[in-house]
């Protein structure tokens, strides 16, 4: 089967990409293996939509806004299935209960999302009995399956998924004894920390680690260490919120840098006609940002499918100093675009600093706060970026 734009994954990124590619006039095939909306369907908390729809809504309501849009485009098909292979000539093999199908696309949008780190990937000693689950699995059990999953819990990790799971556990009647964070600061922005932890007086232990899990059939207690001191906390549930990793098994042929595939400001990878967006590109907080990126990817994928590649001059943006990540890495000359950065430590009231290749500062941009658990986004104009640049961040005086 032939299609202009093949979108792989129907979460926040893929839905937005499919709708925007269809809006640009392309024939679109969206492949999703589970429920449309991906992990957003587990999010019943009201944290989404202000940027995209101008109104705060729950994850589910946000997804329904998008799924309602799909039917407006007769040339947009949703296929339930798993993409088992993808080749550099843009042919994808899709498997579902009806059989195995081959799709030949003119452009491909990878929106495959991310996977949570599990306890096995962490350095935690002791036994691994029942009662250990990832934050995403905990949210699904409570919000989708309506299950009661424990009575007393410890949550490992203070990132967004950890604190959101903590609040949900609390409202479902599970007592969260504490949330541990490896770093000396919370891995989530201050407002979310207030709404999820402080509101319910949940202790957050900074610079703390789960050393050991004890219990035979079910978790009985965990040993925590904080600043060299150890203590034992009784619990029957350990929730792992140790971050997520982009799912990227499908596209070994796309060149990657240290931080994953390096995209340009149109979300195109180094492989022409392959676009990547959302958590598949890099893990980030907030579905609205992901949707916006999906929309960009979908629009340019449609343009690519219609007109093919037009070689565009691009400048490199390279992270430097306490900036650990910059996205996109290639800034298309002559166009403005949003650039997101992450820093290795929190900076209150900081500016983005643009430097040339000998380290001279050519511009300071904006005045915003940086939190390691989240990214901070700046709009850079074509005048800001007219050569290869290094990107740093520093406190404003």
């Amino acid at each position: 089967m032939r299609t202009d734009v093949l979108v792989i994954g129907g979460g926040a990124a893929g839905l937005a990409a499919a709708v925007s590619a269809a809006k640009s006039g392309a024939d679109v095939t969206l492949v999703e293996s589970g429920a449309l909306g991906g992990t957003l369907t587990r999010r019943i908390d009201e944290s989404f939509g202000t940027q995209t729809f101008g109104k705060l809504m729950t994850g589910r309501e946000y997804v329904r806004r998008y799924t309602d849009m799909l039917s407006a485009y007769p040339r947009l098909r949703v296929i339930k299935g798993v993409v088992t292979a993808l080749s550099a000539d843009k042919t994808a093999e899709v498997v579902n209960p009806k059989g195995c199908f081959e799709y030949k696309a003119k452009a491909v949008v990878l929106a495959t999302g991310s996977r949570e780190r599990s306890v096995g990937m962490l350095d935690v000693g002791g036994t691994h009995p029942a009662g250990i689950m990832t934050a995403g699995a905990a949210l699904k059990a409570m919000n989708v399956d309506g299950k009661r999953i424990g009575t007393r819990a410890v949550v490992l990790g203070s990132g967004e998924s950890g604190v959101i799971a903590t609040r949900r556990l609390t409202l479902e009647g599970v007592k969260v004894e504490c949330v541990t964070e490896r770093m000396p600061y919370p891995a989530v922005s201050p407002d979310i920390k207030v709404y999820c932890l402080d509101d319910y007086r949940i202790p957050l232990l900074l610079s703390a680690e789960v050393k050991e899990i004890r219990g035979d059939r079910r978790v009985r207690e965990v040993v925590l260490s904080q600043n060299g001191e150890e203590k034992t906390v009784r619990c029957d549930l350990l929730v792992i919120a140790a971050g997520r990793m982009p799912l990227n098994a499908l596209y070994g042929f796309i060149k990657r840098g240290a931080g994953g595939p390096e995209t340009d400001s149109h979300c195109m990878t180094s492989a022409a006609g392959f676009f990547i967006c959302g958590n598949a590109l890099r893990v980030r907080a907030g579905a609205d940002n992901v949707s916006e990126e999906g929309e960009t990817a979908g629009r340019y994928a449609a343009e690519y499918a219609a007109n093919g590649a037009a070689a565009k001059k691009a400048f490199w943006l390279t992270p430097s100093g306490n900036v650990t990540e910059v996205c996109p890495r290639r800034f298309i000359a002559g166009e403005g675009c949003y650039v997101s950065v992450r820093t290795s430590r929190p900076i209150r009231n900081g500016s983005l600093v643009l430097m040339n290749d000998v380290g001279e500062i050519v511009a300071r941009i904006g005045k915003k706060s940086f939190f390691p658990g989240d990214e901070t986004t700046f709009y850079l104009t074509a005048d800001d970026v007219n050569r290869n640049l290094y990107v740093g961040a520093e406190e404003c005086l």
Binding site: T58, L171, G173, N349, K368
Partner: protein, 120 residues
């Protein structure tokens, strides 16, 4: 005196709030929004609360729900405990009022649940 990190925008100013008999005073805010935020957090923080409500006779065991407006934080845990004792009957459609007055607040569904086929 209380220290509050302002959450009214993502700048995250550190605010201190103090009060005497007559007024609440705020410092550290860089804009008026921050003042309003601090006063509300100090006197009566409000949140839109979201819940799962158990469903009888539906294709799903629970339906997601929220209060129809921001409600006093002090009500949220008690409301969640009360809801654990209650059921709603399928079918339920998004936006439907599940409880018109739970601790005085309206609870509405944020997703839909169909009626289960009963052919057992």
């Amino acid at each position: 005196m209380k220290e509050i990190i302002c959450a009214a925008c993502n700048k995250g100013c550190r605010l201190s709030v103090d009060s005497d008999l007559y007024e609440v005073s705020v410092s550290g805010n860089e804009c008026a929004l921050g003042r309003d935020y601090a006063v509300s957090e100090y006197t009566n923080p409000v949140r839109t609360a979201t819940f799962n409500v158990r469903v009888r006779g539906g294709t799903a065991a629970v339906v997601s729900a929220k209060t129809d407006r921001p409600v006093s934080l002090a009500k949220i845990l008690p409301a969640s405990r009360l809801l654990k004792k209650l059921y709603v009957d399928a079918p339920i459609s998004e936006g439907q009022v599940l409880f018109s007055s739970l601790l005085g607040e309206k609870i509405i569904a944020t997703s839909s649940v169909e009626k289960a086929d009963n052919n057992e």
